[in-house]
């Protein structure tokens, strides 16, 4: 677990506010979309939204009290620690976005293969044999299990089309 008291002895609690802020923002947005609807369509949302806003308000009051007492700081550090893994984490997120973007064009097997090679590279694997070997075996197993055996409707690309014609 992270160091919880690393900001001049104060517990960094700024990150704790992210979820309540997102929750409150969503509750307000949700209620704005149901405001003009008949009561049957909005009753549940209004009740839940009100409860959620109350809970978030309570959380903010308690946080403000701790802040005034000097027990906490508003640092967001808990979200980003340990710092040495930030590059790897962001690389994985970027690779996931790339995965979603290219899978309709490259298909299931090729995308899995490429993603695995790049993700392992980002996580520090440097042996070409291991990079290619693990990615190839995993992609092939995935192809045999999901496309050939289970006929799961994953996106088909040039490789699936080619192999489908051959076999």
């Amino acid at each position: 677990m992270n160091d919880r008291n690393n900001d001049n002895g104060k517990r960094p609690a700024g990150a704790d506010l992210v979820i309540p802020l997102l929750a409150a923002g969503f509750a307000v947005y949700y209620m704005s979309t149901i405001w003009n609807l008949p009561w049957e369509a909005k009753a549940n949302g209004l009740v839940l939204g009100s409860v959620l806003l109350f809970l978030v308000a309570l959380f903010f009051v308690l946080t403000a009290r701790s802040l005034l007492r000097g027990a906490i700081s508003l640092s967001l550090s808990r979200l980003f620690e340990p710092r040495q893994f930030q590059t790897q984490r962001w690389s994985l997120v970027v690779l996931m976005i790339g995965f979603i973007a290219v899978i309709p064009y490259l298909g299931f097997t090729l995308t899995i293969f490429l993603f695995l090679v790049l993700a392992m590279l980002a996580l520090g694997v440097r042996s070409v044999r291991k990079l290619i070997g693990v990615a190839l075996v995993s992609a092939l197993c995935g192809y045999l299990m999901f496309i050939v055996a289970l006929d799961t409707p994953f996106p088909h690309g040039p490789l699936e089309v080619l192999l489908g014609r051959l076999f």
Binding site: D16, L37, A41, A43, L48, R89, F99, F115, L116, T152
Partner: protein, 504 residues
Amino acid sequence: MSADGINMLGLFAHTLGYWWVIIPSVLLGILVGAIPGLNAANSIILLLPLTLAMKPEVGLMFMVSLYCATHLGGGIPAILINVPGTGGAAASTLDGYPMAVKGQGQQALVLSFVASTVGGFLAALATLFLLPFLSRIGYYVHSVEMVVIMLLGLTLIAAIAAENMLKGLIAGVFGLMLGGIGTDTIYSAPRGTFGFLSLYDGLPLVPVLIGLFAISEALLMIEHKMIAAKGATQDREAVWAQTLEGIQMAGQRWWHIVWTSFLGLVIGIIPGAGAAIASFVAYQQSRFYSKTPELYGTGHPEGLIAPEAANNGVGPGTIVPLMAMGVPGGETAAVMLIVLQYHGIVLGPRLFLTTPTLAYGVFIAMLFAYVFMFFTILPMSRYLSRVTIVPTQYLVPIIIAFTLVGSFAPREYLFDMVITLVFGVLGYICRKTDYHVAALLIGVILGPFIEQYLMRALRISQGHVSILFSSTLGNILWAMLVLTVLVPVLRQWWRKKVVSGASA
């Protein structure tokens, strides 16, 4: 509908003759359950051409065996990589994964397998003989009670899963609101959809589950070289003695398996309340009655036994209303109903008189499925537990790639992979800041159900909220809900008072 007068021995022998269907279904079910994105319902749907071509009895044996096995399979990734294969296995992560981190992956798997198979077996056996009584439980639970049961379930999760109850409640209610995304059932008016047509049917559960558990866990997993903690060498040297140790641990807690599986059975009978609710309620009850509640969440065997036994106890329970009243108790039971209707079989009390081989055969098939499962899966635990010593450099990319694409499978929307990514980041923030992802997930699962039952109750009462407090059972449940919120707060206040009194 009573089993009296029916040659039970003959029925057992008749059902055992279908071993050739039950064994492959069990193996397929374990595999399907272990892969996030696949579940019993969508697998049976995928295999509908096969099921419809079978004789109704064979088709039903196939479906129930597969269904039971998925409950067991879902626990495997939950324990080993903190990624539940199904929603019902989410509670198994709470103590199963910490056991794996401590190097007790094999013992955790064995505990899970024994609790699942013995729990499921006992629940199926009890169902077989108590069917006339069990089938009536559904009559006592109406929309009002369902609303309170769900709110109680969510509050319990918020209370047990998070270190801070307020954070747990915020996550749970946030989940409920997210579960309200989509069109309403009466006017089809879109609510909270951000303008995306793909969200008109509501938030898809599989991408949410994968995002909150698999992706967020993978983003955290990179901070360690392997899942098993440094110095925890047991899984590295996995031997049969650990399998026996796991069996012994389960044997010492046999009563725990019995009562939590019966709890799962009763919850399973209530239409709409599925394995996810049952496993969390069982976890909470187990902790509530434990002499060592502080050990829960740290890799405590009883914290793993309870959700696994309850999760499997749900299986026979879900089938009870289907066979006895023709009302499916869950998603998979609904698919089974369609298959049986296709074959012209009318479900209900008469089925037990006209076709006992089918009506009772379902539960007998479950018994055999659990016996087969016990002997097929137990020896595998030694090898499965090695996953925890695979370097995360290789494991993380594989988890991300296969679960991300798995989120595409149920609806075949690329947009669902985007949802997975968004919930992955949300789950990461939750984990880093101690908002338990399980509370958020259960909220998303229960959101649509709560609205459905609340609306039904309000329409019956023509909009009077007082209906929510009109039944005795409902009021007892409300009282339990209030106690669940107040007791931890009062206990904490009392402890502070005692400590400050002692230091003064």
